[in-house]
């Protein structure tokens, strides 16, 4: 199993979620984060307010998937989250040694 962590532009969240839904993926954990990178924070319009900040709001998605799904999930996120402009973000693949579904105690691929 792998834990896929994707840092994306916030307005792309719904689109990425929909695309993952099309391949049967529903379980995602999302956090609001601040991005520093090549895309500089200057004044940016975000939720109707002008930010003079040195970071850019990003969305981080965490998706635990079984190994056989990794390729498809990465491809899906990359195709949909991409705008071609700086700041589109990253996809990180982290090894996931074990997963447990708290409600049932199920482990492994049955847990995610």
């Amino acid at each position: 199993m792998k834990l896929i962590e994707a840092i994306i532009k916030p307005f792309k969240l719904d689109e990425v979620k929909d695309a993952l839904n099309e391949i049967g993926i529903e379980g995602i954990t999302v956090s609001e984060v601040k991005g520093f990178g090549r895309q500089k924070g200057h004044t940016e319009l975000y939720r109707g307010a002008e930010y003079v900040v040195d970071f850019i709001p990003k969305i981080k998605m965490e998706i635990a998937v079984s190994d056989d799904l990794v390729g498809k999930v990465v491809e899906t996120i990359q195709n949909v989250a991409k705008t071609g402009r700086i700041g589109d973000g990253k996809i990180f693949i982290i090894p996931l040694e074990e997963a447990v579904r708290i409600r049932t105690g199920e482990k492994g691929s049955d847990a995610i």
Binding site: E22, I23, K72, S109
Partner: protein, 295 residues
């Protein structure tokens, strides 16, 4: 014959009613239901899925997926069933079980039509979809067994689940063809003889999604109740996986007691579109079954 058609319809409509009724109290305990409703016996929607009154869940919807596939292909076509499951999943249904989702996803991504044998996949997701399989194969037991296991393995490949599916299908055949409850009881006893884990006497009151708990609840209330309403109310008031125990108990009770056994107050509350489609598809399934084609 009209009686067969009547009982077949009552089974499918009954299933939808059991689903919609039980969904309100799904995941509740018997004491929670008792303190909130006393005896829960009216279709009011709500529940953890925030349903409208008379709205059905994955139980009825997956059964309709199988029915539509068979009717449109006019033959048993596992791929057509899988395609319908996939289209249904993409349509963002109100709920979908974890094991069903995993199997449908395997089909969407890899074309898998049979999940690997899994000793843990003994949930009730395959059993709850048995009715259209039983109708389409009526009254052929061999055909029933073949179709039952094939459709089950799309998501659940497990001997306990297989046994429950087949027994349920056999009981539906018997009930729709007019058998007495004592004959149906012998069929259930046969399952218990081969798989003692299904023993429901004494009934332990477990009604979870584990197919053994589900079938114990279904059998206990189907054989104890003396009317469609008694059977279904008994089952759903056990709580836990109430929409599914309700749906399965009601498909048996509907097949046994016929349309006249179904309370009007429940039928009126149901989603009209779903009931209309069920009536149409039930006729078509029967028309395509060996029983009809023999005439």
């Amino acid at each position: 014959p009209d009686e067969i058609r009547d009982r077949a319809r009552a089974a499918f409509i009954g299933m939808a009613i059991g689903d919609a009724l039980g969904a309100t109290v799904e995941f509740m305990t018997t004491s929670e239901i008792a303190s909130k409703y006393g005896t829960f016996k009216d279709i009011i929607g709500g529940g953890w899925l925030r349903l409208k009154p008379g709205q059905v869940t994955d139980d009825t919807q997956m059964a309709l997926c199988i029915a539509r596939a068979v009717v449109s292909r006019q033959t048993w076509a596992l791929e057509a069933v899988a395609d319908n499951f996939a289209a249904w999943l993409k349509s963002r249904p109100v709920d979908c079980g974890d094991t069903c989702r995993k199997g449908i996803r395997a089909y969407m991504l890899h074309g898998t039509l049979e999940m690997p044998l899994n000793e843990w996949d003994a949930g009730n997701g395959a059993a709850m979809r048995m009715l259209p399989v039983a109708l389409y194969s009526l009254p052929d037991g061999e055909l029933l067994r073949k179709y039952a296991v094939e459709q089950a393995h799309l998501t659940h490949n497990n001997p306990v689940s297989d046994a429950a599916c087949i027994c349920l299908g056999e009981m539906l055949h018997l009930a729709i063809c007019g058998a007495e409850k004592s004959r149906l009881r012998r069929q259930a006893d046969g399952l218990v003889a081969r798989f003692p884990t299904f023993n429901f006497e004494p009934y332990r009151g477990l009604a979870t999604g584990y197919v053994v708990d589900t079938m114990q609840t279904v059998f206990h209330w189907f054989f104890r109740g003396r009317s469609f309403e008694e059977c279904l109310v008994g089952a759903v008031n056990q709580g836990a996986d109430a929409d599914t125990t309700g749906a399965i108990c009601a498909m048996l009770a509907g097949a046994y007691y016929g349309m006249e056994g179904i309370p009007q107050r429940w039928l009126k509350k149901m989603d009209k579109g779903v009931i209309t489609e069920i009536e149409i598809v039930t006729d078509k399934l029967l028309a395509a079954s060996p029983l009809w084609r023999a005439f």
